[in-house]
C-alpha cells in the first residue's frame, strides 16, 4: 500500500519545522515580487528624470552626462539587479537630489516612525483588550451596546481628523502639549514624550476601535463554547472562566488582526506624521514623491513593505506557538 505509507510520512514530516520553512519561503518570494512591483512602477515614471533635475534649459550633452552618472542609461534588468543587490548589503543607492545615501536618510527617520507605531499599538492594545472584554461579557446590557456604538464611530473617523481635533483641544485651547514638531529622545526625553503624545493618541483612537471590535467578537465566540459553560458549572465566575480558559483561545483570532492592524499602522503613521510635521519615514517619502526622487521613493516603500511582510509572517508563525492544533495539524 504505497499511498498510505506516503501519507504517513508526510504527516510525520510536516511538523513545526516544515510549517516554518514554508512560511519563510513564502515571505522571501513575496519580498522578491514586491521589489519587482516597486521597481516597475518607478521605472514607468513618464518624463525624463534628468530633465526634471536640470530644468528645461539643459543641453542634451549635460542631460546625457547626468543620465549616465545616475545610471539611467543602463538596461532595466541590470538597474533592478543593482538596486536589489545593493539593498542586500545595506546600500539603498544615493538620492538624485541631495546626493546623500538613501540608507542613511531612512535610518535617521526610522526611529520617529518606529516610536509612533510602537506606542500607537501599545496604547490601542491597552485600551482595546479590557474594553473589548467588557463589551463581550456585557453584550446583552446597555454598557456593551454603548461600547459597540462608540467603536463603530471610532472606525469611521479618519486618524488625521482625530489628530487635527486633538491639536485644537490640547494644543490650541488647553495649551498642554505642542501642536507639532519633534525632539529626539537623546536631546530631551521630556520634550520627546510631549511631542509624541498627540500623534500617538490620534493614531491609537482608530486602532483601538478596530481592535475592540475584534476582541469583542473573538471573546463572544469563546463565551458560547461548551468548556466555558462547564467551567461556570464548576463554580468559576464568568470572568474567571474567561481568564482561565477563554483568553488563549480568543488570542488566536486577535493576533491575526493585530498583525494586519500593525501593517495599517505603518501606513497610518505616514498620514499622522504629515499632520504633526514629524520627520519620519512618511515625510521622507512624501518629500521624495514631490521631488520625484526615485531612489528615495523606491527605498522607503521597500522598507515599509518589508516591515509589513515581516509582521504578517511573524503573525502566521505565532499561530504555531499559540495553537497546538495548528502546530501538529496536517494540512
Amino acid at each position: 500500500m504505497p499511498n498510505l505509507r506516503r501519507g504517513a510520512t508526510r504527516l510525520r514530516i510536516r511538523g513545526p519545522a516544515v510549517t516554518v520553512a514554508i512560511r519563510v519561503a513564502i515571505f522571501l518570494l513575496s519580498l522578491v515580487l514586491a521589489s519587482v512591483l516597486i521597481f516597475v512602477v518607478c521605472a514607468a515614471l513618464p518624463g525624463d528624470i534628468a530633465q526634471v533635475i536640470l530644468g528645461q534649459n539643459a543641453t542634451s550633452e549635460s542631460l546625457a552626462a547626468l543620465r549616465h552618472s545616475l545610471g539611467l542609461d543602463r538596461p532595466l534588468l541590470s538597474r533592478y539587479l543593482d538596486w536589489v543587490g545593493g539593498m542586500l548589503t545595506g546600500d539603498f543607492g544615493t538620492s538624485f537630489f541631495t546626493r546623500l545615501p538613501v540608507a542613511d536618510q531612512i535610518a535617521t527617520r526610522l526611529a520617529v516612525t518606529g516610536w509612533l507605531v510602537f506606542f500607537g499599538m501599545a496604547v490601542a492594545l491597552l485600551v482595546a483588550v479590557p474594553v473589548g472584554m467588557i463589551a463581550a461579557v456585557r453584550r446583552r446590557r446597555l454598557s456593551g451596546a454603548v461600547i459597540s456604538g462608540l467603536s463603530q464611530i471610532g472606525l469611521a473617523v479618519p486618524a488625521f481628523w482625530a489628530g487635527i481635533l486633538a491639536v485644537f483641544i490640547f494644543a490650541v485651547k488647553l495649551r498642554w502639549l505642542p501642536a507639532n514638531g519633534y525632539v529626539p529622545l537623546r536631546e530631551d526625553p521630556m520634550q520627546w514624550a510631549a511631542h509624541l503624545v498627540l500623534p500617538v493618541l490620534s493614531l491609537a483612537v482608530v486602532q483601538a476601535s478596530v481592535l475592540t471590535r475584534y476582541v469583542r467578537s473573538a471573546i463572544v465566540d469563546v463565551l458560547e463554547e461548551d468548556y466555558i459553560r462547564t467551567a461556570r458549572a464548576a463554580g468559576w465566575t464568568r470572568l474567571g472562566a474567561l481568564w482561565r480558559h477563554g483568553l488563549r483561545n480568543a488570542s488566536i483570532s486577535v493576533v491575526t488582526v493585530l498583525g494586519l492592524q500593525l501593517a495599517t499602522l505603518f501606513v497610518g503613521a505616514i498620514v499622522i506624521e504629515s499632520v504633526f510635521a514629524l520627520p519620519g519615514l512618511g515625510q521622507l517619502l512624501l518629500d521624495a514623491v514631490a521631488q520625484r526622487d526615485l531612489m528615495v521613493v523606491q527605498g522607503t516603500v521597500m522598507v515599509l513593505v518589508f516591515a509589513v511582510l515581516v509582521v504578517n509572517t511573524a503573525v502566521d508563525l505565532s499561530y504555531v506557538a499559540l495553537d497546538p492544533r495548528i502546530r501538529t495539524a496536517r494540512r
Partner: protein, 271 residues
C-alpha cells in the same frame, strides 16, 4: 435592533448620495470661485457653515466634494470586485496548485496598503483622482478574491453542486448557475465595507495632496486647508471631517446590516 443598523446605514448613505446628486444641479454658491471680500466668515444665514480662507462657501464645497468621494468609491470598489471576484471563484472552482499560486500572488498585494500603492502611482504618474481610484481598487482586490474563494469552496462542497456535476453540468455552468448567486450576497457585504475603506483612503490621500488636485473640492483637502486656520477659525476643521465620518459610518453600518440580514445563523444568535 438588527434592523436599526441597516436602516441607519441606508439613511446615512442616502444623505451623502443626496448631497452629491443635488450638487449637480444646485449649490448655495459657486464651489470654486474665489471671493476675497468674503474670507473666513463664520456661520450665518447667508453662509450656513461659513466661508473658507478663499471666501468660498463651505456648504457648497462639502456638497460637491461628495461627488468625488462617491466616484472614487464606486470605481475603486468596481475594479476590486471585477478583478477579485473572478480570481476568487476561478481559484475555488479549479483548485490545485495553480489556484494556490494565484491566491499567494494576490496575498502579496496585502502587503501593499492602498495608501502606499497610491503614493507609488502618484510618484510615477502624478497625483490625480485616477491614480487614487486605481491604487485603492488594486489594493482591495485580495479582500474580494478571498471572500469569493471562501464562498465558492463552500458551495462546491454542497450536495446540489454534486448533483449538478453528476448530471454532467460543466464547470462554467456551475459557476454561473450555482456559485455566482450564492457568492453575490457576501460580495455585496464586502463591497459596502470596502466602500467605507475606500472613502477613508481617498480622504487621507487628498489630505496629503496625492489625489484629486485643486480646484475640485475634496473633504481631505478641505481639512488640509482648515489646519492652517486652526488657531483662528477652528470650525473649518469640523465639517469636512464630519462629512467623512458620516459617509464611512453609513457604509460600515450598511455592510453590517446587510450581513446580519443575509446570515441566518447570526440572526438566530441575536434572538
Amino acid at each position: 435592533m438588527r434592523r436599526v443598523t441597516l436602516l441607519a446605514g441606508v439613511a446615512l448613505v442616502s444623505v451623502v448620495v443626496l448631497l452629491a446628486l443635488v450638487s449637480f444641479v444646485w449649490t448655495p454658491y459657486d464651489p470654486v470661485r474665489v471671493d476675497p471680500s468674503a474670507r473666513l466668515l463664520g456661520p450665518s444665514a447667508a453662509h450656513w457653515l461659513g466661508t473658507d480662507g478663499f471666501g468660498i462657501d463651505i456648504a457648497s464645497r462639502i456638497m460637491v466634494a461628495a461627488q468625488t468621494c462617491l466616484l472614487v468609491g464606486v470605481i475603486a470598489v468596481g475594479i476590486a470586485a471585477l478583478v477579485g471576484v473572478p480570481i476568487g471563484i476561478g481559484s475555488g472552482l479549479l483548485g490545485g496548485w495553480f489556484s494556490e499560486v494565484v491566491m499567494r500572488v494576490t496575498d502579496v498585494l496585502y502587503a501593499f496598503p492602498a495608501l502606499l500603492l497610491a503614493i507609488l502611482l502618484a510618484a510615477a504618474f502624478g497625483a490625480s483622482t485616477w491614480t487614487a481610484m486605481i491604487a485603492i481598487g488594486i489594493a482591495t482586490i485580495p479582500a474580494f478574491a478571498r471572500v469569493a474563494r471562501a464562498g465558492t469552496v463552500q458551495v462546491m462542497a454542497s450536495d446540489y453542486v454534486l448533483a449538478a456535476r453528476s448530471c454532467g453540468t460543466g464547470r462554467a455552468a456551475i459557476a454561473g448557475r450555482h456559485i455566482l448567486p450564492n457568492v453575490a450576497p457576501v460580495v455585496g457585504v464586502q463591497a459596502s465595507v470596502a466602500f467605507g475603506i475606500a472613502i477613508l483612503a481617498e480622504a487621507a490621500l487628498s489630505y496629503l495632496g496625492l489625489a484629486t488636485p485643486p480646484p475640485t473640492p475634496t473633504w481631505g483637502r478641505m481639512l488640509r486647508d482648515a489646519q492652517t486656520y486652526l488657531f483662528t477659525e477652528p470650525s473649518l476643521a469640523l465639517w469636512p471631517g464630519l462629512a467623512i465620518a458620516v459617509a464611512v459610518l453609513g457604509f460600515n453600518l450598511l455592510g453590517d446590516g446587510l450581513r446580519d440580514l443575509l446570515d441566518p445563523k447570526l440572526r438566530e444568535q441575536a434572538r
